[in-house]
Symmetry: C2
Subunit: 111 residues, 2 copies
């Protein structure tokens, strides 16, 4: 994995919320889907992932419940809340603005 995590920092929450917009999911699977979507170029570290879940739940953006697996390891599923959906939209808009700003600021002067 070659992308500096400081470039992703600040987008972790948005990425997780985006994954949950498609339906309830659990941590391990979310991270697998991130790896798959980036062709293995990126993955969230477990500590980062679970820290983010705590943060988002604390903020009321997601809620969680234990799955009823009869077999295999237990899974904690997360659901995006209405607040979470609003937050997601806001973060995406912020990203659009930030992206343009960064591109502008990274451009060198040409005469």
């Amino acid at each position: 994995m070659s992308i500096a995590s400081d470039l992703i920092r600040g987008h972790t929450d948005t990425i997780i919320l985006a994954r949950l917009m498609g339906g309830d999911n659990y941590g391990y699977e979310i991270n697998k889907s991130i790896q798959q979507k980036t062709g293995g170029k990126y993955e969230l570290k477990e500590a980062t992932l679970y820290t983010a879940f705590r943060r988002l739940e604390q903020a009321g953006c997601i809620s969680s419940y234990w799955g009823d697996e009869q077999t295999g390891a237990r899974r904690r599923y997360y659901t995006i809340t209405d607040l979470g959906r609003e937050t997601y939209s806001g973060l995406v808009e912020e990203w659009q603005a930030a992206r343009e700003m960064i591109e502008e600021l990274m451009r060198t002067e040409e005469t």
Copy 2:
């Protein structure tokens, strides 16, 4: 209303290096040019700015010298080094890759 700085985090160095690609400049003026370019939507906090200068000089990406102003406050000018130029190119490439990845990961599933 401004941009959350966590979205800019990790780009501070790139932005400063970009400003110095156009020629030597000093901190206060660099920050003014950032404000101007973003239409006031963003500015680096002074502590962030000077911390970044120390970091970049430490890393050999920039060098500095005192200006010879006869009047007004003293100015410390910064010059980008060859290493700084290389670093800048690398950071811009990283940004291109990171930007695409983030856009991909922020997209929700559509059926």
